[in-house]
Every structure is written in C-alpha cells, then in structure tokens.
Amino acid sequence: MKFLRSREALLLVLLALLLTAAGILEPRFVSLRSQTLLASHLWELAIVAVPLLLVILAGGIDLSVGSMLALSAVALGLLFERGVPPGLAAVAAVAAGAACGFANGWFVAKLKVHPLLVTLATMAAFRGIAEGVSLARPISGYPDSFLALSQGSALGIPNPMAILLALAGVAWFVLARMRMGRWIVAIGTEERAALFSAIPVARMKLALYTATGLVCGLASVLLVARNNTAKADMGMGLELEAITAIVLGGASIEGGKGTVAGTLLGLLLIHETREFVSWHWKQNELNLIVLGSLLILTLLAERALSRKTA
C-alpha cells in the first residue's frame, strides 16, 4: 500500500501513460528495435545523474557536469591527436574529470563558497577551457577497439548500461547500507547538526564533488567512443536534464531526501519524453521547452502536495 503512494509508483504510472499515448500516435516508436536504438541516448546522462544525486542529497548542487564532460572529452581528443594510445588518453580523461570535480569540491568544502556560485562559474570556466584549448573543433578518427568501449556489449548488456547499473548499485548500497550514506543524508538534512555529530563534512563534500567529476570523465569516454568524436560543445544542457530527472525522481533540491530508484525512473521518463517529442514533432528545440516546463511543474506539484500533507 505504501508503495502505491510513493513517487516511484507515480513515475511508473506516468511512464505507462506516456508509452501508451506514444504507442497510439507512433506505433513504431514503442517497438523494441526503436527503443534499443534510442536507449543509447540515455547512458551518459544517466551515469552522470547517479553521483549528482548524491551531491544533491548532501545539500549541494553541481551545474558544471556538462562542462566537466566536455573538458574531459577534449582532453581525451587532444591527447589522442598527439599520439597517446586511446586507452591511456581515456584514463587521462577520467583523471581530468576528477581534477575538475576536486576543484569544485575544494571551493565548496574548504572555502565554503555556495556550490551554486562555484559550479556556475566552473560551468563557464571548464567549458571555456575546453573551447579554448581545442579552438572548438571536433577531433575524430578513433580506432575500432576504442569505439567498442561504448558500442560493444557483454552477455547481451551494452557496456554503458553495465556501467550505469554498477554505479547505481554502488550508490544504492552506500545509501541503504553504509554509514557513509547516512552521513550524506545527514549533511543534506542539517549540515550544522552533521558537523556537531563529528561527521567529516568537508571531506565528504570534497569526495562527492570529486566523484561527480570522475564519473563525468567516465561518461565523456563513453560519449566520445559512441560518437567517434570529441568536441567542446558536448554535454551542453546536461546539467538541466540530470537535475530535472533527479527532482522528478522525488529528490528534494534542498537535500536530505531522494532515492536511486526514483532517479532512475525519473531518467527513464525524461528520456522517453525527450525521444518521443523529437520523434513525433521532429523538432529538437521543443525539448528545451518540455524539459524546462517539466522541471518547474514537478517542483510546483511537489510544493502543492507537501502543503496539503503539512
């Protein structure tokens, strides 16, 4: 009974409604073949959303995820261009992402600057550096062995999906079973009380932002391998999609509340909405309107519901 009133149940209903409507309007959209093809658009976004959920649970925010992804991708491309083996370049890209995340975390945790301001600035700075060093040109021509990272599969599960499931599993375990998960929620619920409980607040924040950067680096490798190109405008608007999915999944933007399952369902709903809009109206710009409205409407609905129960 409790499940029926949960956010997860609501999202499942919405998803079913959307797919039914889509099935009536565009029967080919809901075919397994189309869905499998379209699914590849989801992975990088979903992978980035997992650590971002933890940041938001801890009362923070990271607007720079798309830019960190772009900077990592450009780092990979430039290194590859200079003859570094793609595998090594990929490791460097992940390291670059982690370094960006560490910079965010340092400003937030050590200098105690509002994460919004920090990541708004680094959103511009990281993207700007990516544009500056690459002069905004695409870098392509990777070997097939590298492309297989994203395009291959094991046991019928595409590699990026396996990575997503592994990350989501880790996040779930941390939140449900580890003391660290309780700390994250505690920091997001009431940061001062967490400090007075001798929780290493600064270290936790540094770790969370760094992890987010690292995962953005990982996602950049997958994205470059999928598109066979690295470019500074990659991941534009990713932060909006990820935050929308997380909020849609029932997480509170003020921190302290949210689940991995909710976020995954939120991602799925956003993904299907986005793909259906593009499929049916053939206009990608429409998705900007849909996503922006979805974010605001979800929060409005949440406010209205919480007022009713309060």
Binding site: A194, F196, L288
Partner: protein, 814 residues
C-alpha cells in the same frame, strides 16, 4: 479599563500544547512581568501579541476592540512593539538602517538618510553613549545590537512594549539605562510586558507579575504580595530540594583546558575530574558556548591546549570524538539533531566505529533498541522521525546519540532548554547517573536553579573570561550573578573589525592598471574609436548587471536573463522585420519590453509565491525561453530591420551611442534605488536576514516579484539595443550573457549571500570584464580570443570568490 485583554488564546505545535487557553489583562502605565521556566509558554505569548504567529483560538482586545492576529504590521498599527530575545538584527546594515526600517522618514522614493541618522541618534542617546548610527551592526557588540533593537521598539510611539529577556547580554550599566527608560515610558502611560527569569529584575521593576508553567497560567499577583521564593515555587511547581550530591569524591582529571583563547573568549583554563559535574554559568554572550564549541573543535582556537585523559586533542570534531569527548549543543533543531530522520538514524549518527560501517543490521538495531529502553525514550518505534517526539524525549535522543559512542567526557549546552518540568528532572538525574559512572561532565546553563541542582562546582564566565569559581557549598544565585554581571568600570571593549579594502577601490585600481598597460603596449587602445567601442560593449552588461545587483542583494539569482534577452530580441525582430510581420516600430519595441517583463515576473512568481529556489526556477526558464526563441525563429536569422529601429542601435546622442546613455540611466537608477529608496533598504534587509525581515514586516513576495520583473525589463532593454546595433538576430542571441551580468555583480563586490553590495562596484566590474576581453583581442589572440571568453568570465567569478575568502580569513586572524 485594561489596555489589552487577552481572552482564551491557545497554541499547539504538533502534538505539544505550547499554551493552554489563557486570559490576561494588561494595563496602561504598568510594568507587567511574565515569569516561567523555559518552555512555560512565555515566548508563545509574545509571538502572537506581536503578530508573528496566529493562535489556534481566542481573541485579543485593544481598548475593547478585537485586534486582527497574525500580522506584524497590524500589531504595530495597534501600538504593540516587541524586542525579541534573539537579536533580530540586519548585521550588514547600519544602526540607523536597522533602527528605521519599515518606518523610514521621507518619501518612499527618497530616503532621508540625514533624518534617519538624526532619529536614531536621538533615540539611542537615552540608552547608550557615543553611538555612530552609520556603522554597520556587524561591527558592534551583542549588547549594542540589543540596544538598537530596544531603541527601535521604544521610539515607535508604542502603547504596549514587549521585552523578551532584554538584559540577557547587557552590562550592569546598560541595564540601568534600560530600566530608567522603562520607568520613563511607564510614567508616560505605556504598558510594558517584561519577560524575564531574573527575579531581581522583576522585583526591581514590575508592578504585577504573572507566572506561567507548562503553557498554563499559574496566577497573576501584585508584586507587593509575593516574594522571590514564592515565585520560584510557582514557576517550578514545588520547592527545590537540595541535591544529595555533597561530599563526593572524584577520580583523576579527565578534561583539562589550558589557556584556551578564541573568537569570543580568552585565556580560559579549568579541569573536570572523572565523576564530577562542573557547571559553566554566565550571561548570554559571555562566551560559554563558544568555549564548548572550541573544545569540541567546531570553532577554531587561537591558542591554548586541550587534554583528554592527559593526551592533547587537536582542534577537529573527529579528533575530539576519538578522544572520548561528546558534545550536546544548545540548539537541538539545527545543531543537535536531524529532526526529519529516524530516532535510530539519530542515535547511531555518531556511534563508535566498533558498530561497523554497515547500517540497518544486527548490532546497530540492538544498540538502538537498548538506548531507547535504557533512556526511556517515548516513541512509537525507533524508525519514527525525531520531529514527532516531545522536547524532553528529543533531548534524550541527543544524549543517547553520544552515549552510543561511550564517551568519557560529556559537554552539555543548555540540556533542558524547551524541556517540560517533568522531563527536566529526568535529564538532571541522568546527568548525575552518568557522572556516577565515571564520566566527566561539563554543563552550560543559563538557569541558575539548574546550575545549583546538578553541579559539584560552578565556573562563572564574564565577557569571555573566567570570572571565578564556586564550590557546591559556596554557590548561590546571588554569588553567581555577582560574578557574571560586568561591573560599571568594565567598559565594554568595542568590537575591532579591520575593514577590508573597499572592493570598488580594488576593482577601480585594477581597471586603471589594465587600461594603462594596454595603452602603453598599443597606443591604438586609447583611440576615441576604440574607447567608444568598448563603452558600447560594456553598456548591456551594466544595464542587466544593475538589475542583477538588486536580485543578488536579495539573496536570489537569475540565470535566465541571457535566454530572456534572446526571446526579447526574437520578438522584436519578428514583429518589426520587413521579412516577417513588419509591424510599426513602437509596437515592436513595446512587444519586446513586454515579453521581458512577463518573463521576469514569471521567474518572480515561481520564486516568491511557489517558493522554489530561484536558481532552479531560472534554470528551468533558461531552457524554456531558449526553446520558445528557437521555435519562434524557425531556425532562420532575422534580418531587414526597419530603418527606424536601426537608428536606435547605431544612432548617437551628444556624441555617444544611445545605448551608452541608457546604461548610464540604469546605473544611476540603480544607485538611486539602492541608496535612496525604501525598496533598496528592504531588498538589503531581505538578503541580510530573511527571518528578521519577516519579523520587521518586510513583504518578501512583493519585493521579489518586483526585482525579478526589473531583471526581465533590463534584459529586454539590453536585447533591444544589442539587436538593433547588430541589425540581425541570430539563433543563440544572448546565450551566456547571464554569466557576464553575474560576473560583473560578483566581481563588483556584491555578496552571493545577499545583504551587501553596491551599484558602483557592479559598474566597475562590468567595465573590468569588458576591457579585459578587449585587451585580449589587442593581444593578437585574434579569433581564438572569442573561444577563451567564457573561460575568462568563469575565472573572474572564481577569482572574486577566492579574493573574498582570503580577505575574510585575513580579517579574522587580524
């Protein structure tokens, strides 16, 4: 006839009845004292009289007429003024701004600052000497802030003045001036409701006294008919028994504090032995909690050592916890507990690492159940949220959280605040049991009864220093107060704050240096043409930045301005272009400005009414406005603007392009709003301290709606001139401009935390940003300079933030 009649007023919070239906009459020209322990219902009574809460039932009659409840402004209009217990000050604002807010003299559109200072000086002169009304309150002591609050309440010409523990942080001399002022008001026929648990004050001042206990009225009597002992008995509900804790022997020294100094205290040394309960007494603001926080490593210490069982403890909460120190802070809601989380989560929050890193299993569940049982915590289940528990049970959870860690040293700050009388006894007994088990306990308490009940030894702090020590046998209320109250000779040391270099000067100097360096390396830089180009470049940033300054001063942000500029430009182009609708120029301009205002107001409505954080709102509308723009433009650029529009962008007036004059207008307007209007003052108050602004009656929703609307209007104006100057609207017009505007504001010294910032700073910030971009082009980065532009803007914000943080640190250590 009674001035104010309270009839059947009651209030419940959650399941707790804070105030049972109460009848009370207050008369003009009398001082009516209200006494009671913490949680007796005194604050609740104050809050509905002053309009900050509305009661569940009952009425208040003023001069026999019912007063509308639940509105600060209505209460003020009825002549009720209040001085809150916690200082509700706007620290970034000056004494006169704090004193005059919401009753500013002069015209709404022209703040008479000279008269504000004059008012404040006159009204403060009765209470304190040598007070410069122009100095921000953050540079004043707690007592001086309190004096400003009291002066404000008195000067309003009130008929009922409510003073809630007004002397908690005042020195003897200040208390005397306050009493003189109160007596004078009484002679003038003002009714005074005086809340205090300092009985000496009650007997010195009051005509009648009302005692509350557990939210119920115990009785009202004339002061001549009662005695201090009688009052205490009424407050507590029984006579206080002398505890049996005398002649006990203690173990070895557990906690040793040597020469500890920090922000609010200096050279504090003492020790606590195993099995001993030491109380730290003193006035609010004497530095007691600060000492406790420094011992636990929350606040930094400037010198001194802390030893736990002989081993030195580093200044860090984790180190303190590992050394066996536990600390239950005073503020349960925000520091002690995580109210929305479960009892078990809270109990296990600081548990010893021995319980494993995995949660929700075996030993942890057992340990949680054991603590709930042994502390007799009344809860349906240990999975219920702590917020559903009563104050006393919450306090037990807070204690249990630390007992789970098996500490050797326990520090308790106000352990019975907000706890009902019955549970108070339980908490006191628990403290003694813990001491008997060999813990060293340090208790901070403002309640002298509590100090005398639990302590084996009493340390008294005064103005940041240990004033003396009393053994259990020596200690009495009078002796503790004698040590705690600052004497007349002890002139309050003024708070010395090294003022930072003004941001405007720093940015201005940097600007000048950049210009000089650029001119020296390339004389073409200083040519009239180039200067003119730069002005045109900077103008839109000044236009949007001036509105953004107001938004950020109010502790909000708008990251949708760039997208909104794109939308406004598209609307302008579509309406006016001969390729599209070809409407008359004035219609097109009106549509452009209208769309800007609507977009801004939408942001404002979602932020102010729906209470969604503005960053999220504008993140959503950023995408929304951009999407609408792209679809409206249909993937094609808009060209062929009519000549009438083109002249707006390319035409000149008095030798400069129109856009420059408009930017000057916006900057001047912004300067006027921030410095000379009520709106500007209230914006700063909202950003400085939102809850205090609400207490003062500042209308947050309306103000926010207005400033977001202004931001939208400014975006439209900037779009109007940029589009007509370029004579083409491309897709992506305005994208990223929010960053330019925000960077200008932040670089100019406006704090992202609100409450602080100047329009001059924003203009200089915008100029610096614009000139650096131009210089880069002159450095022959050429084409690639545009690729680096975004990195530079982001870098500027980070540099400003870094500079702020470093200068704050330098000030603190100075």
């Amino acid at each position: 006839m009674a001035l104010i009649r309270i009839r059947g007023v009651s209030k419940a919070y959650g399941g707790v009845q804070a105030l049972h239906p109460l009848d009370l009459d207050l008369f003009a020209g009398e001082v009516h004292a209200v006494c009671g322990e913490n949680g007796a219902g005194k604050s609740t009574l104050n809050r509905f009289l002053s309009g900050t809460i509305s009661p569940d039932s009952g009425t208040v009659l003023v001069d026999g007429l019912p007063m509308p409840l639940g509105s600060v402004r209505r209460a003020e209009a009825a002549g009720i003024a209040i001085v809150h217990q916690e200082s509700a000050a706007f620290l970034e604002l000056s004494a006169s701004e704090n004193h005059e807010i919401m009753r500013e003299p002069g015209h709404p559109l022209w703040l008479d600052r000279a008269e504000m200072d004059q008012h404040t000086a006159t009204s403060l002169a009765e209470l304190a000497e040598g007070f410069d009304p122009a100095v921000p309150l953050e540079e004043r002591s707690l007592a001086q802030r309190q004096m400003v609050a009291i002066a404000r309440a008195i000067s309003g010409g009130c008929r009922l003045l409510i003073l809630d523990e007004p002397t908690a942080s005042l020195s003897t001399r200040e208390i005397e001036s306050l009493f003189a002022a109160i007596r004078k008001l009484r002679a003038q026929g003002v009714g005074i409701l005086y809340v205090s648990h300092r009985l000496d004050e009650v007997f010195a001042l009051a005509d009648r006294v009302t005692v509350l206990r557990d939210g119920r009225l115990v009785g009202t009597q004339s002061i001549a008919e009662t005695t201090p002992d009688g009052l205490i008995q009424q407050m507590v509900g029984r006579t206080i028994e002398a505890s049996s804790r005398s002649g006990r022997s203690f173990g070895e020294v557990r906690l040793q504090v040597e020469g500890l100094s920090g922000g609010a205290f200096r050279d504090v040394s003492f020790s606590v032995r195993a099995g001993e309960v030491v109380a730290l007494a003193g006035l609010v603001g004497a530095g007691r909690s600060e000492v406790a926080r420094a011992i636990f490593g929350i606040d930094p210490r400037t010198s001194g050592r802390i030893l736990a069982d002989g081993a030195e403890v580093a200044s860090d909460p984790q180190a303190a916890m590992q050394a066996g120190i536990a600390f239950a802070p005073e503020d349960r809601q925000h520091e002690g507990l995580h109210l929305p989380l479960s009892v078990r989560d809270n109990l296990m929050m600081a548990a010893a690492p021995g319980l494993g890193t995995l949660v929700g299993r075996g030993r942890e569940v057992d340990e949680s159940a054991r603590l709930v049982g042994s502390l007799a915590i009344k809860t349906a289940s240990d999975l219920a949220p702590v917020s559903s528990l009563s104050g006393g049970n919450q306090q037990k959870v807070l204690l249990g959280k630390w007992l789970a860690h098996d500490p050797r040293i326990l520090i308790l700050d106000e352990p019975t605040r907000g706890v009902d009388v019955g549970s108070k006894d339980q908490v006191h007994r628990l403290i003694q049991d813990l001491a008997d088990r060999g813990l060293a306990v340090l208790v901070i308490s403002s309640e002298l009864n509590e100090v005398l009940t639990v302590a084996d030894r009493v340390l008294v702090m005064r103005q940041g220093q240990l004033a003396g020590e009393l053994s259990r046998e020596e200690a009495s209320q009078e002796k503790i107060l004698a040590l705690a109250l600052p004497s007349e000779q002890e002139v309050e040391a003024p708070v010395v704050v090294k003022r930072p270099i003004r941001r405007e000067l720093a940015v201005g100097a940097l600007l000048l240096l950049t210009v000089i360096a650029a001119t020296v390396t390339n004389p073409g830089f200083a040519s009239a043409d180039n200067l003119r180009d730069m002005l045109v470049r900077i103008a839109p940033a000044v236009i949007v930045g001036s509105a953004m300054t107001l938004v950020i001063q109010a502790r909000e942000i708008d990251i949708s301005v760039g997208s909104l500029m794109g939308l406004c430009a598209a609307v302008l182009g579509i309406a006016a272009s001969t390729d599209r609708m070809g409407l008359p120029v004035p219609v097109a301009i009106a549509a452009c400005l209208g769309v800007g205002v609507v977009g801004g107001v939408l942001n404002g409505v979602l932020t102010a009414y729906a209470k969604i954080p503005s960053i999220i709102v504008t993140l959503g509308t950023l995408s929304l406005y951009r999407g609408v723009t792209e679809i409206a433009m249909g993937g094609k650029w808009i060209e062929n603007m009519p000549p009438g529009l083109r002249s707006l962008g390319t035409g000149n007036g008095l030798g400069l392009p129109w856009v420059v004059w408009v930017a000057v207008l916006f900057a001047a307007g912004g300067l006027w709003v921030t410095r000379r209007t009520r709106l500007g003052l209230r914006i700063l108050a909202l950003g400085s301290n939102p809850s205090a602004a609400a207490l003062a009656g500042v209308q947050a929703t309306r103000t926010k709606l207005l400033i977001f609307g202004l931001a939208g209007f400014a975006a439209a104006v900037a779009a109007l001139f940029s589009a007509t100057q370029l004579q083409v609207v491309e897709s992506g017009f305005g994208s990223g401009f929010e960053l330019v505007a925000i960077a200008s504001v932040i670089v100019g010294g406006t704090s992202i935390r609100g409450g602080r910032g100047t329009m001059v700073g924003t203009v200089l910030g915008a100029a610096l940003l614009g000139i650096v971009s131009t210089v880069l082009i002159f450095l022959r980065l050429g084409e690639s300079a545009t690729h680096w532009e975004r990195a530079i803007q982001g870098g500027f914000i980070l540099a400003a933030v870094l500079g702020d943080s470093l200068s704050r640190r330098a000030r603190r250590s100075a």
